[in-house]
């Protein structure tokens, strides 16, 4: 049996507790958590004690640990670029950065350049990218040219806290992690795009033609929390909507319609290990369906890392990862400017 791949984690908040810790425990044959670091020493200690890892004194000491090949960056986004680049420069073989990759296109470019130069596997934590339903859709489009006229991403969810509660017990009381910060409309829109819509934006981008730039035509916030953003991308309209309501129902869909057929993906929500989504492709000459399975995109991303590091799969192109961020960032900034009143419509 192969030696498990060593993993280090920077940031032991809810994303780590509810997602990565669970998956890594399930995949203990392939991965071994060696060290954690968090600016909150008590939380780091609790995570380390829970999972049998050591507490690193700082990021640099975690990155310098030769037993660690994979680093998870699960800190706030403002630290992602610096920490991801430091991890790569320390010789790590794979860096999994929680979404969003970073804050600016310049940071994304720097991260991608470093990964490209050093041959590091750079992944962004977005479960739908690894969802079998999306992989099934990509199989369809490997054989079928699809030029949609409209792509719609619709994310309708209860508040996150419900899913967190179903997946973990916070190591520390959540209230101790700080009170919510008041935001203006532009900041809220950035949050909507870069924290919620961004889950599916890499998928949306793969459905669009190459060589265009997104142009946001209209944007508005929804109450109590949500967004409706209309984007023009070449000859394609992109309809991005999200809404967090006060009841239980989830409806997380991505669909696209074009002259060759229509695609519909129904995804499971964040945090929970609710299995895969479903995919239905109804083409002019064929139809494909991917039925739900127990396999979840969260596990998928770790399986991808395992396969890459064992040489069974090619490195992802870090320039594509950076391009995904640039796409999301351009939409977020334009939409923020619209709701912030900087661009009159």
């Amino acid at each position: 049996m192969a030696t498990p791949i060593g993993v280090g984690v920077v940031g032991t908040g809810l994303a780590f507790q509810a997602i990565h810790a669970r998956v890594l425990e399930d995949m203990s044959q392939q991965f071994s958590l060696r060290a954690v670091w968090d600016p909150d020493g008590a939380r780091a200690a609790a995570a380390a004690h829970w999972l049998g890892a050591r507490v690193a004194t700082d990021c640099d000491s975690l990155f310098a640990d030769p037993s660690i090949d994979v680093v998870v960056i699960a800190s706030p986004a403002r630290f992602h670029a610096e920490q991801a680049i430091a991890a790569m420069r320390a010789g790590k073989r794979a860096v999994l950065v929680e979404k969003p990759l970073c804050r600016t296109p310049g940071e994304a470019e720097a991260i991608a350049r470093e990964a490209h130069m050093r041959g590091v596997a750079l992944l962004v934590g977005a479960m739908h990218w690894h969802d079998p339903a999306w992989l099934a859709a990509r199989e369809v489009f490997a054989k079928t040219i699809f030029t949609p006229a409209l792509v719609r991403s619709s994310i309708i969810l209860p508040p996150n806290a419900r899913f967190e509660e179903w997946t973990t017990e916070p190591l520390l009381p959540v209230a101790a992690q700080g009170a919510p910060v008041a935001m203006d409309a532009a900041q809220l829109m950035r949050l909507c795009i870069l924290e919620l819509a961004i889950h599916d934006l890499p998928l949306v981008r793969r459905l669009l033609p190459e060589g265009q730039v997104p142009r946001v035509l209209a944007a508005r916030l929804r109450q109590p929390f949500g967004y409706a953003v209309s984007v023009r991308y070449g000859d394609v309209l992109v309809d991005l909507t999200g809404f967090l309501h006060g009841h239980w129902q989830t409806a997380w869909t991505l669909d696209a319609t074009g002259p060759q057929g229509s695609l519909r993906l129904d995804f499971t929500p964040s945090f929970v290990a609710a299995g895969s989504g479903t995919m239905v492709w109804e083409g002019l000459h064929d139809a494909r369906v991917h039925l739900p399975s127990d396999f979840n995109g969260y596990a998928g991303q770790w399986q991808a890392i395992d396969a890459i590091l064992r040489g069974a799969r090619d490195l992802p192109d870090p320039r594509e990862v950076a391009e995904d961020f640039r796409f999301a960032h351009a939409i977020a900034e334009q939409a923020a400017a619209l709701v912030g009143g900087e661009i009159a419509r």
Partner: protein, 271 residues
């Protein structure tokens, strides 16, 4: 052949072979189809394909005083206005019937919408054209009872649209978002109504078959699914007419349809 006082003769105005026969045959006590072209008839069903206003004019000229246009499509505004005048002049009654707008499911969905709902999203896809797509969406909004529509085309390509706006549903103002595309694959239309504490959904898979249209209401108590109705909108619309639950309105429905077509033309011509 048996008949009674309530049986009305019906003619079918369509170039499509066999069109409308099954619909008429589903109401054997109420309707009796005449031999092709035999007049007069009590009611004429007019196929709403391109050129339907001409067929309707001919029907009026032949003395028919009750017309039902099934699934009316885009027509020239002058032709429509002339038809409306002719309907009034003849003292006739013209009714419009749509597969979705006249369905029991849409009526059930409408009844779910209380004043807590603040936004209505309509999304659709169909194979023919943008104007047909948008017309179907507008017919749905009208069937839901929306008035005072203020719609703005956010953007349109040759095969897709995104529209935003608002409309009044009783005393409430609803924000509206319409999107859709022309493409291969099945015709479909979904309506989602958002409230902070509830979501109502209608999901229609196109066509005129009596396939039930799913309607649900989700809230903190769980989910309520409206009963499945295996009756298409065309039959239900026709039944409403026959049962006189829909009062004769002369050309009123036609003129309202014309105003909606004007609105759609403005939207589709918008840059």
């Amino acid at each position: 052949m048996n008949s009674d006082d309530t049986t009305r003769t019906v003619g079918l105005a369509s170039r499509r072979a066999g069109w409308g026969r099954e619909l008429v045959a589903s109401l054997p006590r109420s309707l009796r189809r005449t031999n092709d072209g035999m007049l007069p008839v009590d009611i004429m069903l007019v196929d709403g394909v391109p050129g339907w206003t001409i067929a309707a004019m001919q029907t009026l000229a032949q003395g028919v005083r009750a017309l039902v246009v099934v699934e009316p499509g885009f027509v020239d505004p002058d032709e429509l206005a002339a038809l409306a005048d002719a309907v009034d002049e003849a003292g006739a009654d013209l009714t419009l019937v749509d597969a979705l707008a006249d369905s029991a499911a849409l009526a059930g969905f409408r009844n779910l919408l209380d004043d807590s709902f603040g936004e209505l999203v309509v999304d659709g896809a169909r194979a023919d054209c943008r104007s047909g797509l948008l017309l179907a969406q507008l017919r749905v909004l009208r069937a839901l009872g929306l008035e005072g529509l203020q719609l703005t085309m956010i953007d349109a390509t040759c095969a897709s649209i995104i529209i935003e706006g608002e409309g009044h549903l009783g005393p409430a103002t609803l924000r509206l978002r319409l999107s859709g595309a022309v493409g291969a694959g099945p015709e479909r239309l979904a309506v989602i109504a958002h409230a902070a504490a509830a979501t109502a959904r209608l999901s229609w898979r196109g066509g005129t078959a009596a396939r039930p249209i799913e309607v649900t209401l989700a809230n903190v108590a769980g989910i309520r699914t409206l009963p499945a109705i295996h009756e298409g909108g065309h039959r239900r619309g026709l039944r409403a007419l026959l049962a006189s639950t829909r009062a004769p309105s002369g050309s009123a429905a036609l003129r309202a349809f014309g105003r909606d077509l004007d609105l759609l033309r403005v939207l589709l011509d918008a840059p």
